[in-house]
């Protein structure tokens, strides 16, 4: 059923849609190599890398921006 005026009262409810199923390549982050620059966190279009550099694979679409922008190549994209 559609709400009155198709209003959505559940902010952030898009989390129900796990876009992780979209990806072909999966990033893995080597925390040893990581220099805590924050680029990957900043540049992720999904915002799914936490401040502790954990990637939320439920949403990661595998775009590869994080791997590309990591200055020390701590992130590798691997075919899933």
């Amino acid at each position: 059923m559609t709400s009155v005026g198709a209003v959505i009262r559940d902010p952030g409810s898009s989390i129900k849609n796990k876009t992780g199923s979209w990806r072909t390549f999966k990033p893995t982050l080597d925390k040893e190599k990581c220099i805590d620059c924050g680029n990957c966190i900043l540049f992720c279009p999904e915002g799914c890398i936490t401040k502790d550099y954990d990637i939320d694979y439920d949403y990661c679409k595998g775009c590869g921006i994080c791997a590309e922008e990591c200055p020390v190549k701590a992130i590798k994209m691997e075919r899933e």
Binding site: M1, T2, V4, G5, A6, V7, I8, P11
Partner: protein, 382 residues
């Protein structure tokens, strides 16, 4: 308090008393003085509202949807080309269930360009989901604005509405208008309580995108709201009568009880028709008038009950849906089993005299080609 004013003045007084918080409005003949009276009220501090001098009617209605979405009572006004320019957003306002009230000075649509009265503009918006109330005079214009807020804001309705007044005929003539007391309006019309609004304390997303799984139910809900609005209108009419002493309805029956010929029309022309009806009744003719006040929601039961006893009815249209004919005529024919003749008149401000009404009654009494569109007041080819 009785004051002499135009329908534009009356609408403005009503708006002032209903206390909208945001008024985006763009001027257009013959609505212009509404935009001016409201600006003056705000400038004088007698109306505490944010007046937005928008740069077009499309922006006027867009800002109104934004403001209503943000949870406040709003008002705008327009006419003809302006209403047409709003067309896209009228559907959105209704679909987003924003209870905006709009004052429309009925004016012909270009082309050819005309600033004079007919009802094409609001009639052409009949699909939008907006309720439409046609006032016969300035008093009704005032009363309908106040009632419109109460009807639109009802949680069972939540559809925007427009109060229609015939351009120039009502907007640029004056008559005595009884302006109610603010306390009475406050008692009758409580503050607006939105169910959807923009507030960081309770974030909602308004104006979303629906795929085929959701759209149809939203439209069904709107039709349900329109149907239910008829009862809300009746209830609000009754409450209005109790507080202010004036009676209104979805329709007005004028000497229809035993009428053989009943004219059906909307707006100020009904004043002329009532005069003719009185005149003919004196002469023993059984004629009457069924004035349609609420065009949307379409009050088919009320119309039918009033006209079913007539031998034949004459439906007057100050509009034409090119390619088929007058809209009110076609809608009545579609919704009920009545003998009816349809007449197109008054387009682009063409004068309608009592003689024209008599001509209509004659042509209804003795109809000739019933499938032809009857034009009244058209100039003959030399």
């Amino acid at each position: 308090m009785i004051k002499v004013m135009s329908a534009n003045g009356a609408i403005s007084e009503a708006v002032k008393m209903c206390k909208p918080k945001v008024i985006p409005v763009f001027p257009i003949t013959p609505q212009t003085t509404i935009s001016e009276y409201l600006a003056k009220f705000v400038a004088d501090g007698v109306l505490d509202a944010e007046y937005i001098r928008v740069e077009s009617e499309h922006s006027a209605i867009s800002a109104a949807v934004g403001a209503s979405g943000a949870g406040v009572r709003t008002f705008t006004a327009t006419s003809s080309q302006g209403l047409a320019l709003m067309h896209e957003i009228l559907f959105v306002a209704a679909g987003m269930r924003t209870p905006i009230v709009l004052g429309n000075a009925n004016r012909a649509l270009s082309a050819p360009l005309s600033i004079w009265n007919d009802q094409q503009d609001s009639i052409s918006e009949r699909d939008t989901g907006w309720m439409q109330f046609f006032a016969e005079n300035a008093q009704e214009a005032l009363d309908f604005v106040i009632q419109a807020y109460k009807i639109s804001e009802d949680h069972q309705v939540l559809l925007p509405s427009m109060v229609c007044v015939d351009g120039y005929i009502l907007t640029h003539t004056v008559e005595p208008v009884d302006i109610p007391r603010q306390e009475d309006v406050d008692e009758f019309l409580p503050p607006y309580e939105p169910i959807s609004y923009l507030d960081p304390k309770n974030p909602m997303s308004l104006g979303t995108f629906t795929d085929p799984d959701y759209y149809m139910e939203a439209r069904y809900d709107m039709q349900t709201a329109m149907d239910g609005a008829k009862d809300v209108i009746r209830r609000v009419n009754k409450e209005f009568e109790e507080v202010f002493g004036r009676k209104h309805g979805l329709v007005e029956s004028y000497k229809t009880e035993d009428a053989e010929i009943i004219l059906v029309a909307m707006g100020s022309i009904c004043g002329t028709i009532k005069t003719v009806v009185d005149y003919l009744r004196e002469k023993g003719e059984k004629v009457g008038l069924l004035r349609v006040i609420s065009f949307r929601p379409f009050p088919q039961e009320d119309i039918y009950q009033a006209v079913k006893g007539a031998r034949r009815i004459a439906v007057l249209d100050k509009n034409i849906s090119l390619g088929i004919g007058g809209v009110l005529f076609n809608e009545i024919k579609a919704k009920m089993d009545v003998n009816a003749s349809g007449f197109i008149l008054g387009l682009g401000g063409r004068e309608i005299s009592p003689d024209h009404i008599i001509e209509i009654i004659e042509k209804t009494r003795n109809p000739t080609e019933t499938n032809k569109i009857n034009w009244i007041g058209l100039k003959e080819e030399e």
